[in-house]
């Protein structure tokens, strides 16, 4: 299940209590294809999370329009799942109940009960059904959050730096898990990240955003074959290009020869 998302001419301005306004997004145009894995990358303040919240329906644009499969996005909907950076599990529910929350909320828990166990196994959490969120690690908690979003069978999964708070080993584990789920479910994936390696490793396309005002500066097609090798020549070349774009990569100083 997947869908295409069209974003056209979207502006979002925030005004704080002193009347100072900040242009979080200006003139965003983006077409996200069905079943695509797309990453939004950029420094903080570039509006990538704002854009993701607009797609989720948690926020509304001042101008422009967002549509999913041709119908306008006016609010949250079960066809768009969302994974927060961290701490979004309900601490008072055990893992099983956290994962089945969406089914219960939509009143389909009785008819789709067998799905709960299936999604628990899918993210490799068998045996932790009765544990509470405080008893599991950060990586496991994010897997629960992903399973909880996927159990509603969304057409698109929106991921807001889901691996930002994890250590690098857990992170690469979870990245592979995410790819596996993406292949299996065919869901459109929209990932917000500040990790360039993560974006290259996972995405079909990388959307580079820049701040003040938040806008799309460049879209890079990642046409490397999968599975990708993090240390491969093309991988590193692409990494260098992106770094260069942000002027983070500087030419090494010439060695000095004093003879």
């Amino acid at each position: 299940m997947s869908s295409s998302i069209k974003i056209s001419g979207v502006d979002r301005v925030y005004t704080d209590t002193d009347g100072v306004s900040v242009e979080a997004l200006r003139g965003i145009d983006l077409d996200i294809r069905e079943g695509e894995f797309i990453s939004l990358i950029g420094p903080s303040g570039c509006g990538k999370t704002t854009l993701l919240r607009l797609i989720a329906g948690l926020d509304k644009p001042q101008a422009g329009e967002l549509t999913i499969d041709g119908s306008k996005i006016t609010g949250v909907g079960p066809e768009r799942g969302y994974v927060f950076q961290q701490g979004s599990l309900f601490p008072w529910l055990d893992i099983e109940k956290n994962i089945s929350y969406g089914l219960r909320a939509r009143g389909v828990l009785k008819t789709k009960k067998e799905k709960v166990g299936e999604y628990i196994s899918m993210v490799g959490l068998d045996g932790f059904e009765k544990s509470y969120p405080h008893q599991i690690s950060g990586g496991m908690a994010q897997r629960v959050a992903i399973a909880r979003a996927l159990i509603n069978e969304p057409k698109a999964l929106l991921l807001d730096e889901p691996m930002g708070a994890l250590d690098s080993f857990t992170r690469s584990d979870l990245q592979d898990k995410l790819l596996e789920l993406w292949k299996k479910e065919g869901t459109t994936m929209i990932l917000v990240t500040h990790d360039i390696d993560e974006a290259i490793y996972l995405s079909d396309r990388i959307v580079i955003m820049t701040p003040r005002p938040g806008k799309i500066s460049k879209i890079i097609d990642v046409d490397l074959p999968r599975p990708r090798h993090r240390g491969g020549v093309e991988f590193l070349e692409m990494r260098r290009q992106i770094l260069e774009f942000f002027r983070l990569a500087q030419a090494l100083p010439q060695p000095e020869y004093n003879i």
């Binding site: 948690l58 949250v76 969302y82 309900f90 008072w92 055990d94 909320a105 939509r106």
Partner: protein, 367 residues
């Protein structure tokens, strides 16, 4: 034990000279302490010996003070038993010995409980000795000022002479407490949710709650007694308002502190507005609700006893007042002992419910 082992290991690695000593200490340490059976039996003996001494004092210490020792006829199961207050007191002591021995033997098999039992031995011994000294000072020699400080046997005499009447009063108190406190919890949680959820309700009701909440409930007694149809309803009303304000206050606080992200996550997963209250806000507020219930409970006990003392036809507070009039201070003490046991038991029940409801939090509390 664990820290001990760690220290030993640290010593071992630090200086090779003490290696042998360290190992020896470790070996003996395994058999030492609560793990050793001899040690455990000694602790069990210590636990009960205080009460045995108390029995000895009651039986063999000469009765110097002039105190009338009456016989009370108890009949149950077709048998009639003649008991003096000393017999009843010794019976209680024997029961304590039996209870502690059984507890000791039951906990022998469990490491944690065994450790705890050993730890409590000294206190329980002191309890027995305390009873013995109290018996000497209050009953045998009566050098405590009388009738204000009667001995333990005289306190138990109150149960022999007034047993049925005391039970009636306990039931009266419990009825009052149950009616008042349960209404208070329901109203308190209900208003708290409304205040916490609807900003309009917060604006209009919260200041009223904040101002009236600090007034002790018994201050309303004159109104309660005149405006309400009977004294029972009046006392219920007082307990209700003392529980209501406290619980509403904390429930509102808990609802309001629910993180925005929890609501967003729930909405995206398909929650309706009703769902957000029932399945997000209320569970999140549960720890605060229980804090409110805990402190409201303590205030409810105070209000209960005070309103019974000031205008109820029954209850433990009434019994205290009535006994005071006759200078029967042993009965006052008897009622106080019952209150201590009864209120501790109610606290225990609330504690268990709280622990079960908030089990998802347990690890957080431990850390």
């Amino acid at each position: 034990m664990d820290t001990q082992t760690v220290i030993n290991t640290a010593v071992l690695s630090a200086s090779p000279r003490t290696e042998n000593k360290g190992q020896k200490a470790e070996q003996t340490a395994v058999k030492k302490g609560y793990r050793s059976n001899t040690y455990f039996l000694l602790k069990l003996l210590l636990t009960v010996s205080g009460f045995i001494i108390a029995i000895g004092v009651s039986l063999f210490f000469p009765q110097k003070a002039e105190i009338v020792i009456k016989d009370y006829a108890l009949s149950a199961f077709g048998l009639t038993l003649n008991l003096t207050m000393n017999d009843a007191y010794i019976f209680v002591l024997v029961m304590l010995i039996v209870i502690y021995t059984v507890t000791g033997l039951v906990s022998a098999g469990n490491k944690e409980r065994r450790k705890k039992f050993c730890k409590n031995a000294a206190f329980r011994f002191a309890l027995g000795i305390g009873l013995a000294l109290w018996d000497i000072g209050g009953t045998k020699l009566a050098f405590f000022p009388q009738p204000f400080f009667p001995g333990p046997a005289q306190v138990i005499e109150a149960y022999l002479s007034d047993g049925e009447y005391i039970i009636q009063n306990i039931i009266y108190s419990l009825r009052l407490y149950a009616a008042g406190f349960s209404c208070g919890v329901v109203l308190g949680v209900g208003t708290g949710i409304l205040i916490g959820w609807f900003p309009k309700v917060y604006y209009w009701v919260f200041p009223v709650l904040k101002i009236t909440g600090v007034v002790p409930a018994v201050a309303w007694m004159p109104f309660a007694l005149t405006l309400l149809p009977d004294t029972f309803t009046a006392a219920v009303f007082l307990i209700v308002i003392c529980a209501w304000f406290q619980i509403a206050f904390l429930t509102a606080k808990g609802i309001q502190s629910t993180p925005k992200q929890s609501y967003e996550a729930a909405r995206i997963l398909g929650s309706s507005q009703k769902d957000l209250i029932l399945h997000v806000a209320i569970p999140h507020a549960m720890p605060d609700i229980f804090t409110g219930i805990g402190s409201a409970n303590a205030m409810a006990f105070t209000t209960l006893v005070m309103s019974e003392m000031l205008g109820q036809p029954g209850g433990l507070g009434y019994y205290i007042n009535q006994s005071k009039v006759w200078s029967a201070y042993y009965k006052v003490l008897a009622a106080i002992v019952i209150m201590a046991v009864l209120f501790s038991f109610i606290n225990y029940i609330i504690g268990r419910i709280q622990k079960h409801t908030l089990r998802w939090q347990e690890g957080v509390l431990k850390k």
